[in-house]
């Protein structure tokens, strides 16, 4: 009878110890995630994906595997988001808790830089809907995107610093560049945000 009690106690002790260990593991894992990207891993990513050149999914995956092999991150997985075009450019997202790098689509560097300027321009100079669409269309066509999908029914996304001013600007009828939505098949949709009564896709006879 007494030995049964001892066995039960032993099982309870084992379970309690296991719970404590795994709680600590989970807590440590979360703490690591909360600290951000480990510098060595970030350095490897920076080498491969510096934002100044277009890296295709295949090249990014291979180069990252080479950089990570032999490091503390050799066991990390590298996966591709659905819809990545084989000749498109990629960036990488990081899921520290799952030890995973996820390749995601990104515009060509020259397009990305131009759109950053567009974002600034449209916050400085008021363009109404049609003018804003025309402006973005011209920029993108000049960069070799003949039929950009530009929409004006997307989010209104503004800088955190100066948000009130930006929102007043938008309420006044100005359109701003709200960024890119990558759709399910990996195509970019360029989003302009504004408060025009029309919430339809931009008027563009050539737009898809």
């Amino acid at each position: 009878m007494q030995s049964r009690r001892w066995r039960r106690l032993a099982v309870l002790v084992v379970v309690a110890a296991a719970l404590t260990v795994f709680a600590k593991v989970a807590s440590h894992q979360q703490a690591v995630a909360d600290r951000g990207v480990p510098p060595a891993l970030q350095a490897a990513i920076n080498e491969v994906l510096d934002g100044h050149r277009c890296t295709t999914p295949h090249n990014a995956e291979n180069a990252l595997r080479v950089r990570l092999s032999g490091s503390d991150y050799a066991s990390w997985t590298i996966t591709r988001r659905d819809g990545l075009r084989s000749d498109g450019c990629v960036s990488a997202g990081i899921d520290i808790a799952r030890h995973a790098l996820i390749l995601i689509p990104v515009s060509r560097p020259e397009v990305r830089e131009a759109l950053q300027e567009v974002r600034r321009d449209l916050l400085l100079t008021c363009f109404q809907r049609e003018a804003a669409v025309g402006y973005v269309q011209t920029i993108l066509r000049g960069l070799g995107e003949p039929q950009p999908d530009i929409r004006t029914d997307g989010p209104v996304t503004v800088p955190v610093d100066g948000a009130d001013e930006a929102n007043r600007y938008v309420k006044g009828g100005c359109y701003i560049y709200s960024g890119i939505l990558w759709n399910e098949v990996g195509e970019p949709v360029y989003l302009l945000g504004g408060n025009s009564p029309s919430s339809q896709p931009a008027h563009d006879p050539e737009a898809r």
Binding site: R4, R7, R8, V11, V14, V15, A18, L19, F22, A23, V25, A26, Q29, Q30, A33, D34, G36, V37, L41, Q42, I45, N46, V48, L49, D50, G51, R81, S91, A92, G93, I94, D95, I96, A97, R98, L101, I104, P105, V106, R112, D153, G154, P155, V156, T157, V158, P159, V160, D161, A163, S178, G179, I180, L181, W182, N183, E184, V189, L191, G193
Partner: protein, 136 residues
């Protein structure tokens, strides 16, 4: 005799290992931890617009807002398909996705930007991914 020994020793031990396995699986599937204030270094999701509580903020990626722990802190409200305002206070770009596992459509929000008018993306986000290289 063998059967009795099994019942007395092996069965409780197996039960213990089973419990340990379940706990271990839970521990290693740890997802983003959410807090209820939007601080530097975090991305923030509000259930309501404009930036109205409940609020869930985290510093890490989350592949599935539908996981058990993904509720707005101090509430029982699930985050999945409920977000109406977002803010990116990370130093890097962040992409919000309309399905779990970083699938569906992905909307890229640069560092230092926010939105309380998500248009067609309102109440549609199911995961987000912190970029480690320029993405927007």
């Amino acid at each position: 005799m063998i059967r009795a020994t099994f019942r007395r020793i092996a069965a409780p031990t197996m039960l213990a290992f089973l419990l340990v396995g379940v706990v271990a699986a839970t521990a290693f599937a740890v997802d983003a931890s959410w807090d209820s204030s939007c601080n530097s270094g975090e991305i923030c999701n509000w259930r309501n617009a404009p930036y109205q509580v409940p609020l869930a903020a985290t510093s890490s990626s989350d592949s599935d807002y539908n996981a058990g722990s993904d509720v707005y802190p101090n509430t029982t409200d699930g985050i999945n398909d409920s977000v109406s305002s977002v803010r990116n206070l990370k130093s890097t770009d962040t992409v919000w996705f309309t399905t779990n596992n970083y699938g569906g459509s992905g909307y890229c929000v640069p560092s230092g930007f926010q939105s309380d008018q998500l248009g067609g993306l309102n109440d549609r986000f199911s995961s987000h991914l912190i970029a480690a290289s320029p993405a927007c």
